[in-house]
């Protein structure tokens, strides 16, 4: 009797688990489709500011952050979700973020850019992804484990800083812009949103608008999207991800670490929601690329492949030490006003700029 009941409960839990994983796959497919259509890559977004004074993708990133910041706080205020800012290990955020930024320039794509380009058929991105997974695993449980514990210690100067008074909407005691200042999160949400939107409206138009001719079908499936379409779409997907997964919004690197771990060990528990999400991203991007006539298996020369692999490796190390990649920090953490993600994000950008300067701008 007891056994039957137990198995029913277990079956129920399995069903919930399965549908949760399925939701990851579905959200991932939509996310991948939008990433490919919008060419959404933070490596390009940040690097191009200094390299070619190009702000198109930066605008998309900024708009996605605003949409999510409002969406997350609205959902939290209504009681649908709690926010989960990442732990504030300041040394780990600075070091991990900085090397992640360097890695993504070498890899020719951030975690999300690399993932969607695998779906476009770019072999260099596939190699970078292998590097990312390996780099992640050697840092979480392999040769670089000690470096991680040194930068994420439980005692000493580098230990996590938390708060006794987290304020509203949070599911943990981690630092946010709001609770550090002891103010209502909405004050920051409104101020940041107004500033970003004002700049975007002020700087609108110009050459950054893609010339859109043709039917609606062609605009959606055949041409690259305008930055504002991409920004709003990514923002909405992030909000859907938070509703689906409950404990966080979008993330990329953690999903790939789980994927490799599940491959090399019999431990299928390592397959997490984000693993299904990233597999979905590759599928969604491939579908988008095939429809647009942009799917092509292509590879750069061997030297470049090696450069991308090393870049991926560094990204993986940086993502584990810094506790998230560009998506986990900048796209999902910053809209939660997480201090960890703001610091990590700043150093991702700085690492990107230093590497871009050395690689492309000297001489």
């Amino acid at each position: 009797m007891e056994n039957t009941n137990k198995s029913k409960v277990e079956k129920g839990l399995d069903l919930i688990e399965t549908s949760l994983m399925a939701s990851g796959l579905v959200v991932g497919i939509i996310f991948g489709f939008v990433l490919q259509r919008g060419r959404f890559c933070m490596n390009s977004a940040f690097r191009d500011i200094i390299l070619m004074k190009e702000y198109t993708l930066l605008k998309a990133v900024a708009l996605a952050i605003v949409v999510q910041m409002i969406g997350f706080h609205l959902l939290a205020t209504l009681g649908y979700i709690e926010l989960y800012p990442k732990t504030f290990y300041w040394g780990a955020m600075i070091f991990g973020g900085f090397i992640f930024g360097i890695g993504m320039v070498l890899a020719a794509g951030c975690a999300s850019g690399t993932t969607y380009r695998v779906g476009e058929g770019m072999m260099g991105s596939f190699v970078a992804l292998l590097g990312l997974m390996i780099g992640g695993l050697i840092t979480s449980g392999g040769a670089l484990k000690d470096l991680k514990s040194y930068l994420q210690p439980s005692e000493g100067a580098l230990k996590a800083i938390t708060t006794d008074n987290p304020g509203p909407y949070l599911g943990n005691a981690n630092l946010t812009l709001a609770n550090v200042f002891g103010l209502d999160p909405w004050i920051f949400v409104v101020i940041i949103a107004i500033i970003i939107l004002a700049v975007l409206i002020w700087k609108r138009g110009g050459s950054e608008e893609t010339k859109t001719e043709g039917t609606a079908y062609e605009k959606i499936f055949k041409r690259g999207w305008n930055w504002w379409v991409t920004g709003i779409a990514i923002g909405i997907i992030g909000i859907i991800a938070f509703i689906a997964y409950k404990k966080y919004a979008l993330g990329i690197s953690g999903g790939w670490f789980g994927f490799l771990e599940a491959l090399i060990t019999p431990d299928h528990d390592k397959l997490n929601w984000f693993t299904f999400l990233v597999i979905g991203v590759v599928i969604g991007a491939a579908v988008a690329a095939v429809i647009a006539g942009e799917f092509k298996l292509r590879a750069p020369n061997a030297r470049r492949l090696l450069q991308q692999f090393i870049g991926g490796l560094i990204m993986g190390i940086g993502a584990v030490i810094g506790t998230a990649c560009n998506i986990g920090h900048i796209l999902s953490g910053v809209p939660q006003l997480a201090l960890s993600s703001i610091l990590g994000g700043i150093f991702i950008v700085l690492g990107c700029w230093v590497a871009a300067y050395i690689m492309f701008m000297r001489g």
Binding site: C41, A108, E294, K296
Partner: protein, 80 residues
């Protein structure tokens, strides 16, 4: 397809990854004389959209951007 303008030089960056198509295009244009035409062949979607934008900002004239095949583009630029 290519009966229009005769390019002075051709830059084939097919296979190259972000942002090498853009960087190599700009470097090449810098070396070219005013009025000369550069043909860029590439297969990286983001650069196919970004190169026309960024070289126009630098004062060069984009004569044509065309999709020449699955995942391949050809851009004609007149150096300033």
């Amino acid at each position: 397809m290519s009966s229009d303008v005769k390019p002075t030089e051709t830059l084939d960056v097919r296979g190259e990854v972000c942002p090498y198509p853009d960087v190599k295009t700009q470097k090449k244009l810098k070396k070219m004389k005013s009025g000369e035409i550069l043909e860029v062949l590439l297969d990286y979607p983001l650069s196919a959209e970004r190169i026309p934008r960024s070289v126009e900002k630098l004062g060069h004239e984009v004569l044509k951007t065309e999709k020449t095949g699955t995942g391949e583009w050809r851009i004609l630029i007149k150096a300033k």
